[in-house]
């Protein structure tokens, strides 16, 4: 009995499946199937668009919704103002898009759909490093372009902190360069790992509940009960993590852009 039912694969939730029979779509020889991942990106984008639409009433005395939207734009504006200064204003659209897109993706990925039985379940595309990697590389590309555009080869002085003794400069330069080049990886992997770990943990605990309940009422109460309570707590934690990871991504992106704008 237990052998039949204990087939909860905690990794299955990350499987990408083409939808609407689009697996054959191709563009210049590359497969561009409209997958469940793309579907949830679209859902996040549309939800974000609908959210922003509520902030477009442009009333002098804002309603609750408009206030909420203005709080988010003000939050990103303040973040960039604090980290970059006046020059940070022009990055508000990009950092805002990044932050809100990741935030909506993380939160929507946590929504427990009642249709999970028939195979429809929320998909967290930020738990795929193909996605977080592209976002990180885009951010890093902006850092490089801005850095070299503004400072030319002087941008390399970023890798030699002030007050470095002359004999140390070659070593420090290499170390700083490597740490600089690791930034896109740490940026992308942090979000991917945090999102995946939380979802795997929830799935594993859920399988504990199901398997222990199938093994008998005693096992169900002894193991399934505490696991379920733990799940509730971790769900709350995951909502927090969803916000924090989006914030961390936006914060680090703004810090990296600050390096490019202002050097040291």
């Amino acid at each position: 009995m237990a052998g039949e039912t204990a087939k909860v694969d905690p990794m299955h939730q990350f499987t990408i499946e083409p939808m609407f029979g689009s697996e054959g779509w191709e563009l210049a020889g590359f497969n561009i199937a409209f997958t469940n991942s793309a579907m949830w990106m679209l859902i996040a984008a549309v939800a974000l668009w609908a959210f922003m639409l509520g902030g477009m009433k442009r009333e002098l005395v804002p309603g609750r919704w408009q206030m909420m939207v203005e709080t988010f734009t003000g939050f990103i504006d303040d973040l960039l103002e604090a980290n970059i200064g006046k020059a940070g204003k022009k990055y508000v659209p990009y950092i805002f898009s990044l932050f809100m897109f990741i935030l909506f993706a993380n939160l929507l990925g946590l929504v427990p759909l009642p249709l999970a039985m028939v195979g429809l379940h929320a998909f967290t595309f930020t738990s795929h490093f193909t996605i977080t990697g592209v976002l990180a590389i885009m951010t890093f590309a902006i850092v490089l372009i801005v850095g070299f555009w503004k400072h030319g080869f002087h941008f390399f002085s970023l890798f030699v902190p002030h007050g470095t003794p002359v004999p140390m400069i070659p070593i420090i330069f290499v170390i700083e360069l490597i740490s600089f080049l690791f930034r896109p990886f740490s940026l992308g992997l942090r979000l991917f790992v945090a999102m995946m770990a939380g979802h795997v943990l929830l799935e594993v605990l859920a399988s504990f509940v199901i398997d222990s309940a199938n093994a008998g009422i005693g096992w169900g109460l002894a193991i399934g009960g505490p696991s379920f309570i733990l799940m509730l707590a971790i769900c709350a934690l995951e909502i927090l993590v969803a916000g924090i990871q989006a914030y961390v991504f936006a914060l680090l992106a703004s810090l990296y852009i600050n390096d490019a704008e202002n050097l040291h």
Partner: protein, 164 residues
Amino acid sequence: MPQIAQLAETYSSQIFWLLVIFGFVFFVIGRGMVPKVMDTVGLRDKQIADDLAAAQAARDAADEQEEAWRKRENENRAAAHALVSEAKAKAAASSEKKLAKVQAAIDTQAAEAEARINSARTKAEGEIQSVAAEAAQDIVSRLAGIEVDKAAASVAVKKAMANG
């Protein structure tokens, strides 16, 4: 781990759709909507700042006007005060002048009266002398039978009156 297991078959669609959809998010929401929302906030902040500035200006103007009113009021008060004291001084001066005039009139009347009294007295004294001389002539003619002329009698009377 589907992220790695499916990498080869799905990376292109993942990247393609991410670029398409994030592009939509960036250009439509980030570039299109966010600046408008921030403009609204900026506009509101500006309006609030302007209103506060206008209120401050109005208060300053009111203070200024009150100050001006106070100054004018003080000036008016001082002017009224000056007018009153001037009138007082004028009245005092005119009454003093009148008094002096009256005093002078009284003084001249008194002096005239005195002069009249003096002249009356001298006249009376002269008459007494002539009467005394006639009386002395008469007494002398009756007692001694000597006719004394008028001049001698009058000299004698004068002598006697001068002696006391």
